[in-house]
Assembly symmetry: C2
Amino acid sequence: MNNQLFLTYSPLPREELVQKVKESMSDKRFQHVLRVEEQAIELAKRYDTSIEQASVAALTHDYAKERSDEDLIHIIVTQGFDQELLPYGNAIWHGVVGAWLVRKELGVVDEEILTAIEEHTTGSATMTTLSKIIYVADYIEKGRQFPGVDEARLLARTDLDAAVAFETQQTLNYLLKRKQMIYPKTIETYNRWVVI
Amino acid sequence: MNNQLFLTYSPLPREELVQKVKESMSDKRFQHVLRVEEQAIELAKRYDTSIEQASVAALTHDYAKERSDEDLIHIIVTQGFDQELLPYGNAIWHGVVGAWLVRKELGVVDEEILTAIEEHTTGSATMTTLSKIIYVADYIEKGRQFPGVDEARLLARTDLDAAVAFETQQTLNYLLKRKQMIYPKTIETYNRWVVI
């Protein structure tokens, strides 16, 4: 990690950014965030993109995950967000509103990072390599255990787009089986990356 | 069937409407259309809505199904349809453009019928009883054979909304398993009728 390069993506040096993130969540989630960072850096090396940018995006991707529903709803209602977000709950809010909070409270302004945070639970039809890395790293970090995670890890090492497709299809199967809400953007991701 | 009431929904008497529909498609599909009509009338009686309206909607629901892609695309491009329809193919076009053709060529102007035609392959979050009847009748007419059709038939006899939910979930499972495109409106249908 190059400290000077890190500062082109975050106004705070890594140690201070890590401290801010740590203070915003439970230790359990903070450990997950560190594992996502480790995984994201590995993928950034493999797919030849900035490890410092991947580090900042990974460290901040769940920054809003433990905010209260009340806080997140207040931001959605008052800050010009699409009001159709409201029924979807924290699972969707923490990405979209999270990007806004990371800019406002942590001073990160890199658009690729903010978009990667925004898209990390839903993906999108227009994901950059960084977005794909955060989306996939969050799914396969070494603490994850679920049927299919080994296949996802294998795909991530050989074909990032295939890993995005696999994760998206698995996620939709999971939601459908449990009759849980599906956010329309997840279908855009499916139509772009899964459909053959 | 009351002929006078039929004419409040179709400018053509039933025999002439049937003839027009017959001429627009293969005999195999025409037989399907007649079975959908029979099933739709049965559901209209059960759920206490107009059998004449159900008949007109059922007879015309697949009116555009055998139009060429070229014709359907031409209509989408020149008649003010959402251009995002273009990637989805006949499976989606024949409902949306079909409603437009049924109005233009068959003179049907009843908005509930036109909406039921439009929605018959995707459903919607705002389906009327008529829309639900056409959506479900198309799925369970007595010629249909697929895993789950008996459960769908049973649900249709006892709870129309549950039949809509079952069909929507099965359809999404089918598309997902085969990695086929999912039209965003199908997800609106899912979020409204399937999610618990």
